[in-house]
Structures are given as C-alpha cells and as structure tokens.
C-alpha cells in the first residue's frame, strides 16, 4: 500500500488488522484514563484498558491469562477502584483537574520509561516470533502441572501472600 508521502506500508492481514484495533483501543483508553476530568470516567476507561490487555493476551494465545485478566482486573480490581472513588466524597463531586504540579516530572519519567521499554523490546531476540504456539487446553493443564511440580514452593508462598493480603484487608476496613 502506497501512502501519499511515498511511505510504503504493508497491507495488514486480517489478524493484524484486528490486533491493531485492539491495541488502539487499549492505547486510547489508557490516554483517557489520564486526561479525563472526572475520576469515575477515568476508572471506566481503565476498565476498558484492562479489556484491551486481555485482548492482547488472546492474540498471544494465552487464553487462561486473558480470562484471569478479565476476572481479576476487570471483575475485581476495577470494581474495587470504583468503590474506592465512591468512598471518597471529594472525588465523587465531578470535575478534578487531571494536572497537578508534578505533571512535568511525571511526563518526563513516562517518556524515559517508554524509550527504555522500546529499546528493550528491540534488543530482545524474540525466539518464538512467527512460530505456531501450542495453544490448547493442554496449556492450561501444563500451567497446573507446573504449579504442583516446578513451582510448588512459589505456589505455597503465594497462598501465604494472599493470607497476608486478607489480614491486611480486614485490618484496614475494621478497626476493632
């Protein structure tokens, strides 16, 4: 495909086309999170971003991860954020400015971080790129197998971590 300024752009395949849509959705929603003046709208845009990331996981053939993303981030964490906004009176009242006096520093850091990520992505060889991934039920099964064999210690420690989170949650919300 020839663009006006003589730039050559390859015609995307159908899958690439859908991927571009999903990626754009994620990016636009992410932008909306930071520029929206209404905090609740920001939270909703964040939810949309989470969905977009789940979509990217589907393209990576990581179905279980995609579903976990929807279940945990969209179903629980975004809900928690929405609840948290409603708990905070000053934030329930509509318009807040998306800018504070740190916007300059933070945008600089964001930019540097982006450059770093980009460099990192270009430096990585990506050995599996273009190959067919064994995406199957077997993959979720393999995950379960790893949980109880190779990573069994990490798995049990994770249980303890969740226990700590639980205790923390109860401590935070109930001061008895």
């Amino acid at each position: 495909m020839q663009l006006p300024l003589g730039i050559e752009v390859p015609i995307p395949t159908f899958e690439q086309f859908v991927f571009i849509q999903v990626a754009l959705l994620t990016a636009v929603a992410g932008l909306a999170v930071v520029i929206s003046r209404n905090l609740f709208h920001s939270a909703l845009a964040l939810t949309l971003t989470f969905f977009g990331v789940a979509g990217v996981y589907v393209f990576l053939e990581a179905e279980f991860l995609a579903v976990s993303q929807v279940l945990v981030y969209v179903g629980a964490i975004a809900m928690l954020i929405a609840f948290a906004i409603m708990l905070t009176r000053s934030m329930m009242y509509g318009r807040t400015s998306p800018l504070n006096n740190q916007w300059g520093k933070s945008s600089l850091f964001a930019f540097l971080f982006f450059i770093g990520l980009l460099a990192f992505a270009r430096a990585t060889p990506w050995p599996a790129a273009g190959e067919e991934v064994v995406a199957d039920e077997a993959l979720i099964g393999a995950l379960g197998r790893e949980f109880v064999t190779t990573y069994v210690i990490a798995f049990e420690v994770l249980g303890l971590l969740l226990l700590l989170a639980l205790v923390g949650a109860v401590m935070l919300a109930r001061d008895r």
């Binding site: 609740f40 909703l44 179905e63 579903v67 279940l71 969209v74 179903g75 809900m79 929405a82 039920e137």
Partner: protein, 326 residues
C-alpha cells in the same frame, strides 16, 4: 479469501442466537405472567391474541414508542451506556453452550468454563454504572447492594464450577456433555444443584434475592431513573440472564442437549435443551411465587457464612473423589 467463512457465517449464527434469545425473552415474560397468575388463581394476560400470546409483541411496540427521558442531573454518557452494558453479557454468555451433538452455540473455545465465569464477572458493571450515573439515592444504594451481592455469590459459584471441572477434566462444555459420567458422579453433582441454583438466583437478582430493586424500600433500585426502552433493556438483561443461566445449569447438571435419540437426530438436541430450560425457568418462577425476600444482612451472611464454607467443603470432597474414584 475465506472471509465468508471467517466473518459472514459466524455473524449469521450470532444474529440467529440474538434473535432467538430476544424472542425467548419476550415469551418468557408471557410464561412468567401466566404462571404467576395461575399461582395466584388469576387469568394473567388474555386480551392480546389467543391466550394473550400477542402480549409480548404489544409490549415491545409500546417500549419503542415511549418518550425518551434523560433526566437533568444524570451523567449522560454513562447513563446511556449502562443499559447496553447490562444486556451484552447476558447475550454473549451463550456462546459456549452446546446446543446439539458437537455443536456449540457460537464457538467451542478451550475455555468454556472460564468464559462463563469471566462473563458472569462483568455482569455487575451495567448495574453499578446505572446506579452511579443516575445520581439518585435509591439508584446508588440499589447498585451498591446489587454489585456486592453479585460478587459475593460469584465465589461459591466459582467453587462449584471448579468441582464440576475437576470431575470432568475438560474446560470445554461440549466435551462435558458428551463425556460419560458414572452413577455416583451424577448423585454427587445433583447434591450441589440446589446450592448452585441459589447462587444463580442471587447472581441474576431474581426473587427472593431481588434486594437491589425492592419496590417498597428502594423503588426500583438502580432502574429508578430509567424509562422506556432503556428500562426495557435492563428488563431484557434480567430475563435473558434467566434463560442463559438455565441453559448453563441444564448443561452442567442435566446433560444439556442429551436425551433419547438425540445422537441420531441432531435436531432433537435443541428440543431437549429447550425442554430442560423451560423446566428450570418454571423453577425460577415457582420460587418467585412462593418465597419471601430476606433482609440484606441475612442475604450477605448466608453467602459468606454458609455458601462459601459449603463450597470449600464441596471442592475438597470433589478433589478426593476425583483422585480416588475416577
């Protein structure tokens, strides 16, 4: 290019599914009104058409020609988005349910079980957005109650699903129905059914767990500021959810499309599924006609202090059964 295969056929299939579900919704309202009338020794709708069969069509026309009111104080984009967001999960949860031998409604993905769980997880969004955007005390309280109730009952629901998955050993609902089960498995499964059904009642906000919309204290809960077609969309979402969850229960507990001769004659599959769904829907309406509403604290306590421990016990026993008896 096989875009016909890739886009057009799935689209036609999806349109048929949506059409069937919406028609199902329309006649479910008729079915419910007729049944409730019978329970209360009344006639129910009987003016529009024979046996009142045209009543749903009349209601649909009315909803479309209602005045659109967007109150002054609402958050407009979110207010308009919420009804659509409530409806979409109710429709798409059907995608993985098998309707005949080897035939899922839309696609047999590897994550059938997880699809159901994930879609159930986003179902509360429509309601919480409606409650927040309406800027009405009743709406906000109704939405909060509703979302807290839905997420709470999702946990025992997830635990029961894990147990069923453990015994079936496959994430695909198509395989689940077609695989064979031993007699003790059926009995163990049916032991869980009443509790699963209770969770479903809470998830779909159906009576007796319709606390988000208690008419005598919260007017209509999150729907208070909605009228016309936007209200109808919440209504459709609730009823399509009833149909979808009935189909899920039929698939998980009662063999889905299976029945005599369904293997030979493919078309019998959907018929059997429909019969099972109708029986389960009768159960929903029967419960509504018979059981009074609990208090909200009782509802939450029942979930966290009874259903969740029960789910944990059920998972552990299922695990032992799956290891030693399968």
């Amino acid at each position: 290019m096989d875009w016909l295969q890739l886009l057009v056929f799935p689209a036609i299939r999806a349109l048929i599914l949506i059409f069937v579900l919406l028609t199902g919704f329309a006649y479910l309202t008729w079915y419910e009104r007729k049944l409730l009338a019978r329970f209360q020794v009344r006639y129910g709708p009987n003016r529009a058409g024979k046996f009142g069969l045209l009543q749903p069509a009349a209601d649909a026309v009315k909803a479309f020609f209602k005045e659109e009111i967007i109150p002054n104080h609402v958050d407009k984009p979110v207010y308009l988005l919420a009804p659509a967001l409530a409806l979409v999960p109710a429709l798409i949860i059907w995608a993985v349910i098998p309707i005949a031998k080897g035939t899922p409604a839309i696609a047999d993905v590897n994550i059938g079980f997880l699809w159901i769980l994930a879609v159930a997880g986003i179902e509360s969004y429509g309601i919480i957005l409606a409650g927040w955007s309406s800027n009405n005390n009743y709406s906000l309280l109704g939405a909060l109650r509703s979302s807290a109730q839905m997420v709470s009952y999702e946990l025992p629901l997830g635990l029961f699903l894990v147990s069923i998955l453990m015994l079936a050993g496959s994430f695909s609902l198509v395989d689940l129905v077609e695989g064979s089960r031993q007699w003790w498995e059926w009995i163990w499964l049916w032991l869980a059914f009443p509790f699963f059904f209770i969770c479903i009642l809470a998830e779909t906000n159906r009576s007796p767990f319709d606390l988000p919309e208690t008419e005598n204290e919260l007017v209509a809960g999150f729907q208070t500021e909605y009228g016309g077609m936007k209200f109808a969309l919440f209504f459709i979402a609730e009823y399509v959810n009833m149909i979808s969850t009935s189909a899920i229960m039929a698939t998980l507990f009662f063999g889905g499309w299976k029945g005599p001769f369904a293997e030979q004659y493919i078309w019998l599959g959907p018929v059997y599924l429909l019969i099972k769904v109708l029986i389960l829907l009768f159960l929903f309406i029967w419960v509504r006609a018979s059981i009074g509403r609990p208090r909200y604290d009782q509802l939450m306590k029942f979930c966290w202090q009874f259903m969740l421990p029960l789910g944990l016990v059920y998972v552990s026993i299922s695990a032992v059964l799956a290891v030693f008896l399968k």
